[in-house]
């Protein structure tokens, strides 16, 4: 086993898809395992090494009181904490409940709602502890994940760009679906990282990387309304994996108001 920096992978409320992105780095995973000491990675190995950890990758959102206790411990034991994926960075799809009555949901869904012990809101990690880097996406892009690990290993800045998806469309030569087809697209307010995957298949971006650095949803409201999309379609567009991100909340509010720009 490597005696390089130790790596812990921790899961909160999530689907495991982001940590699986690490295992998905098939060509590189063995080399990574040589360079770092994998101390805690339940998806990969049952062996658990106690902290402290040099780097913690944290997946998932906080949805229970127990999560919160566990998270505080992870933070205490980790030198660098990197959140991975929309659940950890924005609360995830499960944050849809933030605007609903959780007690009523549990009554409707579960045979024994009394077994369910959950918080009212699903919250991102950064709402509770200091986060050193955020990796966006649902799921994260494995190239970015690897790059962050390499950056931390070599003491350089990770190659993560907070500019909008439009940059990636233009670099790839993808024709803008909003301008050339009137397709509602969140690309202008969405954080880059996916390589503008959806527009390259003539689909609008549905914002799975969450808000970009400026995320000017107010300025995008007019063009989105002009695309012909109905207000409730636009509310849904902003209500996926990053539904609870403040900028996307604002997007939902503006869409409800009928696209009027602030």
């Amino acid at each position: 086993m490597s005696n390089g920096p130790s790596l812990g992978v921790f899961k909160f409320a999530s689907c495991d898809g982001c940590q699986l992105s690490l295992l998905d780095c098939e060509d590189e995973i063995l080399a990574v395992a040589k360079a770092v000491r994998i101390a805690n990675f339940p998806e990969a190995s049952r062996a658990v090494v106690e902290g402290p950890y040099d780097v913690a990758l944290v997946e998932g959102s906080v949805t229970t009181a127990h999560d919160l206790q566990r998270l505080l411990r992870v933070r205490q034991e980790s030198r660098v904490l990197v959140t991975i994926g929309a659940c950890a960075t924005a609360g995830g799809i499960q944050a849809l409940r933030n605007a609903a009555d959780v007690a009523e949901y549990t009554r409707v869904v579960y045979a024994h709602p009394e077994y369910i012990n959950t918080l009212e809101r699903s919250t991102p990690i950064a709402e509770h502890v200091k986060v050193d880097y955020e990796l966006r996406g649902c799921p994260v892009n494995k190239r970015q994940l690897l790059d962050v690990l390499l950056a931390l290993l070599h003491g350089r800045k990770p190659d993560i760009h907070p500019h909008p998806v439009c940059v990636e469309c233009k670099m790839a030569g993808t024709t803008c679906v909003l301008v050339a087809n009137g397709t509602p697209c969140l690309g202008p307010v969405t954080h880059a990282g996916c390589g503008a995957l959806c527009p390259s298949y003539a689909r609008g971006c549905f914002g799975c990387y969450g808000p970009a650095e400026d995320a000017r949803v107010g300025a995008l409201a007019g063009p989105l309304a002009a695309s012909g999309a109905k207000p409730d379609e636009l509310v849904r567009l902003y209500s996926t994996f990053n539904v609870a991100a403040p900028a996307f909340q604002e997007g939902q509010r503006l869409a409800r108001e009928g696209g009027a720009s602030k």
Binding site: E28, A31, V32, K34, A35, D147, L150, A151, L153, H154, R156, D159, H161, P162, H163, P164, C166, V167, K170, M171, A172, G173, T174, T175, C176, L178, V179, A180, N181, G182, G187, P188, V189, A202, E213, D214, R216, A219, L220, G222, P223, A226, S261
Partner: protein, 380 residues
């Protein structure tokens, strides 16, 4: 000029074949995903035949034409900077060699390119980028390698688009220079088949033309080409008043219009990335597990917050500062720096702005306001 000629419709295919036979990668307009983009051409049939584009601020659509025109549209979202100032490239690789570093430059793909069907604004834009990237004190060798042997087959625009204003910028709609050959499409008329009037710009253009069947133009061919060019100028609706434009912008950095336009701007960067002259880029350093490093250059835009990030924060945190910086550099600072305007009037930034922001309107609003204020102060 080195004379003129006419080419029958079949001559277009022969011209492309002659260029390919000379080893050129022929890059020209093609329909792809609902737009006319730049891609490699093999035959004249690859061109957007019988297609037109409808452009307005923030909107672009293709539609069929009622004729067989081969160049019956204007510029699309791609510009030739994709070819010469490529979106992303690895400049060099670095490897530790025990004592220090071993640096290896990555090879440049410098296969000669022929631009086929280049519009006057785009030919002018390439000249503008040459001034910046090839003719300054520090030429970019990679740009120069890709650009230096490029062959240009220009084409005159008979029907300017609704966002075009090249006549104001003195770059079009008829190419004046910067080409090896320049075509004007003459659609069929009773008794006269579909043909192209050809102007020869260089010896090399003449040599290529000589490999293709062509004839001497009639006076009528020449007259029609001239009349089409005049009609194209007359039909252009969009204008940018360039008189004292540099001073107008330099003298009005606090004009309230900057704030008003910033309200509408999404900071999506589209305007700068579709602009054929914008050249900004950033460097990314990436490392491999083995400790090798690469320096990658990629397009960037002054509309992002991160672009101006330095120690302590971004130099242009407000959108107002970013829009003003872009337009003032393009239309004013560029003149001081490179001796010409940075705008060739292609209209791409207007069409491809999702918010439909139109620089000609912004300039006109500032100009009208400053003029009104000056009038008022004279009266007082």
């Amino acid at each position: 000029m080195n004379g003129d000629a006419v080419l029958e419709l079949t001559g277009l295919d022969a011209l492309i074949a002659a260029l390919i036979a000379r080893g050129y990668r022929v890059i020209g307009p093609r329909v792809q995903d609902g737009a006319i983009v730049l891609d490699e051409l093999q035959h004249a049939a690859d061109l957007p035949v019988g297609v037109k584009d409808e452009q307005s601020p923030g909107r672009y659509r293709l539609a069929p034409r009622s004729d067989n025109a081969h160049f019956g549209y204007v510029v699309g979202p791609h510009a030739y900077k994709r070819v010469f100032h490529v979106p992303v490239e690895t400049l060099f690789r670095v490897r530790r060699d025990g004592r220090g570093f071993e640096v290896t430059e990555t090879p440049v793909d410098a296969r000669p390119v022929a631009l086929f069907g280049a519009r006057a604004c785009d030919v002018a834009a390439t000249t503008v980028q040459d001034r910046v990237l090839a003719e300054g004190a520090h030429p970019d060798p990679r740009y120069v390698a890709r650009r230096k042997d490029a062959f240009v087959v220009a084409v005159a625009c008979n029907e300017p688009g609704a966002t075009c204003f090249c006549a104001s910028m003195n770059t079009g709609p008829r190419p004046a220079d910067g080409f090896d050959l320049s075509l004007t499409e003459l659609l069929p008329e009773p008794g006269v088949p579909h043909r192209f009037y050809v102007e020869v710009g260089t010896e090399r253009g003449r040599a290529v033309l000589d490999e293709v069947a062509h004839a001497l133009p009639s006076d009528e061919d020449r007259r029609r080409a001239r009349a089409l060019a005049d009609a194209a100028v007359a039909s252009m609706d969009k204008h940018l008043e360039t008189r004292h434009l540099r001073d107008l912008l330099i003298d009005n950095p606090e004009h309230p219009r900057w704030r008003a336009v910033a309200e509408r701007c999404i900071t999506c960067t589209s305007c700068t990335l579709v602009c054929p002259t914008c050249f900004c880029s950033s460097m990314d350093d990436v490392t491999s597990l083995e400790g090798e490093a690469e320096r990658v250059r990629r397009w960037d835009s002054c509309f992002t917050r991160s672009y101006s990030y330095m120690h302590g924060g971004p130099a242009r945190p407000s959108v107002e500062a970013r829009y003003r910086h872009w337009l003032t550099h393009k239309l004013a600072g560029w003149i001081d720096q490179f001796g010409s305007s940075g705008c060739v009037g292609c209209g791409r930034c207007i069409t491809w702005c999702p918010a439909g922001i139109d620089l000609t309107e912004e300039v006109a609003a500032i100009r009208a306001d400053v003029k009104a204020a000056r009038g008022a102060s004279k009266e007082a």
